[in-house]
């Protein structure tokens, strides 16, 4: 019989995992279940639902820290931070709509477990860079913690980094602490119209090499740009290269003007102001160009050196757009096998990783969802899994077979 266990506190999480260890039965670990369709399909008979471990337990704006249960919705965190003009600076994306679900179901624990980040990744880092401390239950059924509630800490191994991006395979978190940062008072976007991928990369690189503190650099070819809800973008009838600037008002105006002057040679430029800027970058963050009704194409997320992005995107028979100054390619393909050999082959020379983000369960069972690792690294991954979860009771096989 399939059971869903929904503990109310850390002690109950420990009991649940200890039971699973004793019974040698794997658990599917969930928060808001918004990313359940990412990863290799599992065969867990039971579900460990952490969504009741919910609520902010500490928020000290002037110390830049917030602690909460892992099941706390991102929306709840955003609302609390908003009252003090603060935010999670890594821009947690919401892949709900991309995966055919409602928006707004993601939790803080989930975003950390998947180590996601939005366009500001290039300046502010990912979830891992803001993850200060946690309490969790390991696959041994033991409660343990790492990190702290201060922003600077090197005491012991940084297990926060290990838990971030582990997709629930190492520990079931019961409490997390993150660094929070002030929201910039003003934001603007410089748009350059009509570049191809190579020109766009050159423009983004120029902007990112400038002292103007760019906090987003994306390239949408004409087709995905036409799907934008932002007028200036969808009516451009051309590709859009977008550069975001944030900060105090005067500074933003100055940097915006300086960037337009520097980038004018790449094509005609436009400017998006506050609301349009916010709307545009959340579309990029949440991969909305591939989230249209009825869009069931296979979607890949590919992280590569920024200077290789345009070349790789152009080499594949697929619709693409780029974020992170060219370092992140979003790619949608029709081929039922996700064109996986071509995708992974295209990046073989430059390093990086390709992850299947949207695909039917059959495909996720058949091909590597996460980038296959070299044998040495794979051995360390398997060893880490064993050290935290020797009986394989926490999301076994979600990232790699046998891990």
């Amino acid at each position: 019989m399939t059971t869903t266990l929904k503990p109310d506190n850390a002690g109950q999480v420990r009991d649940a995992v200890a039971w699973a260890v004793a019974e040698e039965t794997p658990l599917e670990v969930l928060g808001g279940a918004s990313k359940r369709a990412i990863g290799r399909p599992g065969n867990a008979a039971h579900t460990l639902d952490l969504s009741a471990l919910r609520g902010i337990t500490l928020y000290e704006a002037e110390e830049l820290v917030l602690s909460a249960g892992p099941g706390t919705p991102i929306a709840e965190i955003d609302a609390a931070l908003g009252e003090f003009n603060q935010e999670l600076a890594f821009e947690p994306p919401d892949y709900g709509p991309l995966l055919g679900q409602a928006a707004g179901r993601g939790t803080l624990g989930g975003i950390i477990a998947a180590n996601l980040a939005g366009p500001r990744r290039i300046k502010a880092g990912a979830a891992r860079d803001h993850f200060l401390g946690f309490a969790a239950v390991s696959g041994r059924g033991e409660a343990f913690k790492s990190g702290g509630r201060v922003v600077k800490n090197v005491t012991g191994y940084d297990l926060c980094k290990v838990l971030a991006g582990s997709w629930g395979t190492l520990g079931a978190m019961t409490q997390v602490t993150v660094k929070v940062l002030p929201v910039a008072p003003k934001l603007r976007t410089v748009l350059i119209l009509g570049c191809d991928g190579t020109q766009a990369t050159a423009a983004m690189t120029r902007a990112l090499q400038s002292p103007y503190e760019v906090s987003g650099a994306a390239f949408l070819p004409q087709v995905p740009a036409a799907r934008s809800g932002v007028d200036y973008v969808c009516r451009a009838a051309a590709s859009v290269t977008a550069i975001r600037i944030e900060g105090p008002g005067q500074s933003v105006e100055y940097r915006c003007a300086a960037l337009r002057a520097q980038l004018g040679g790449f094509g005609p430029t436009e400017e998006l102001h506050g609301q349009n800027t916010a709307a545009f970058w959340s579309e990029v963050r949440d991969v909305l160009p591939f989230a249209g009704t009825g869009d069931t194409r296979i979607v890949w997320k590919i992280s590569v050196p920024p200077s290789d992005g345009a070349r790789i995107a152009a080499s594949l028979d697929a619709e693409t757009f780029m974020d992170w100054g060219g370092g992140l390619i979003w790619l949608a393909v029709d081929a039922a096998d996700g064109d996986h050999e071509a995708v992974r082959g295209a990046m073989a020379d430059c390093g990086g990783h390709a992850t299947l983000i949207r695909a039917p369960v059959e495909l996720r069972a058949a091909i590597a969802v996460f980038q296959p690792q070299e044998p040495g690294l794979a051995r360390l991954s398997a060893g880490l899994k064993t050290s935290f979860d020797p009986r394989g009771v926490l999301n076994p096989g979600r990232i790699y077979a046998g891990v």
Binding site: T4, L5, K6, D15, W19, E62, E63, N115, R121, A126, R128, D129, S138, G141, E142, G148, R149, V151, K152, N153, V154, T155, Y157, D158, L159, K161, V162, A164, L170, P182, T205, L208, Q209, S210, P211, Y212, G247, P248, Q250, S251, Y254, R255, S303, P305, S307, W324, G352, H353, F370, Q371, Q373, L377, L380, S381, L384, T386, S387, P390, R391, I399
Partner: protein, 495 residues
Amino acid sequence: MEMPKPDGAVIARRHDIAAALSRIVPGEGVIVDEDALRPYESDGLTAYRTLPLIVVLPESTEQVSAVLRYCQENQIKVVPRGAGTSLSGGALPLADGIILGLGKFKRILDIDYPNRCAVVQPGVTNLGISDAVRDSGFYYAPDPSSQIACTIGGNIAENSGGVHSLKYGLTTNNVLGLEIVLIDGSVVSIGGKHLDSGGYDMLGLLTGSEGLLGVITEVTVRLLRAPETARALLIGFPSNEAAGECVAGVIGAGIIPGGMEMMDRPAIAAAEAFVKAGYPLDVEALLIVELDGPQSEVEYLIGEVERIAHDKGAMSLRISQNEAERQNFWAGRKAAFPAIGRISPDYYCMDGTIPRHQLPVVLSRMAELSNEYGLRVANVFHAGDGNLHPLILYDANAPGELEKAEAFGSDILKLCVEVGGVLTGEHGVGVEKRDLMSVMFTKDDLDQQQRVKCVFDPDSLLNPGKVFPELHRCAELGRVHIHRGQTRFPDIPRF
């Protein structure tokens, strides 16, 4: 401080081991002569000294790999070492272990401006990276105060910080890739010029692992474009509380300064006497707030910080009018440690982090402890991120004073943990804070950390005696305790 008991059998084989290592690293790369070993007997934590068995200075990844493989096969302990500037004894030698020095790995391999990163060998100094890219307008952000001497490999091992870490992050936020050699000699590449990892974040785990997991042989770091300008304010306050409130006010106003440093009265006096930076001597606390970025932004933010400082009762306030003056404001702070060295035969530098609002409590308890121990203390403080560096003044030649200073330091760190902070913000655990780990962590916490160690180094040959107060055998740690027959979680809501 007890180190693992030296193994007499290994020490007896010293000449055979040296001969074997000389076959791997020919020429002058193997040091056995006592006088030549002497410079390696301690690191920046000079209170502890041990002559290593042998020092090996390889020049290539292949040599590092062969040395480590030999050491594992022959069960010889290995202490990796960069420039030896660790303040926590991370590179303290073992009498029955070799020092594996990375000092010959000095090349910058690739500077890649389009991808805004540099690939360097671990022995390149922290400042060496910034120097190499400065003419192009770039720099490497983390700037520990030992940056002239400390190496990037050591920075990775310790996850080093610096005065700019609140805004630009620690080492871990600025590294993209590593090549490491494991104790079995295998070479593993992690990351590269792209962002994030496809699997478990080994990069994040290795950074700050204090030489216990692997030996770093290549590093890829992010380069940042240097800000257009930087200016600083020098603000004096009548009390530590007022200075602390100013720091909270600045951050509360949504300003993240490039640097925000605080000094207490004894530190101000020592620094001013040493470098004559023009620090006010009639204040209890001094803040240096540096703002960097585009010109117009910096000017605007200087005005904001000035307003907040006056609101919080600043007694004196100066704004740097040019680069020389800004450097001058920093001169006293940057020389704070040697300045203390001038007024005391010895000093002991601590490194706790506290929730910033606890600063008044911590400073007043520290003053009480100072009286109890009869030892003076001066404080410098990375105020933005709550990282406190109390400097305990003592005289190592006075019988019992070192022990007293250590006991005082240990009380300070316990106090940091008690108020919600941590044992170390940026200097690392090493041998110095090893025995305090149980103040912050439970047995289960520490056991899980040691299990991670076992994945990389099952025989505990890499830097043993550091970080962990007790060494357990990996087989023992690997056991799973099963509680069969326990009630089937009667209290957990089920569906």
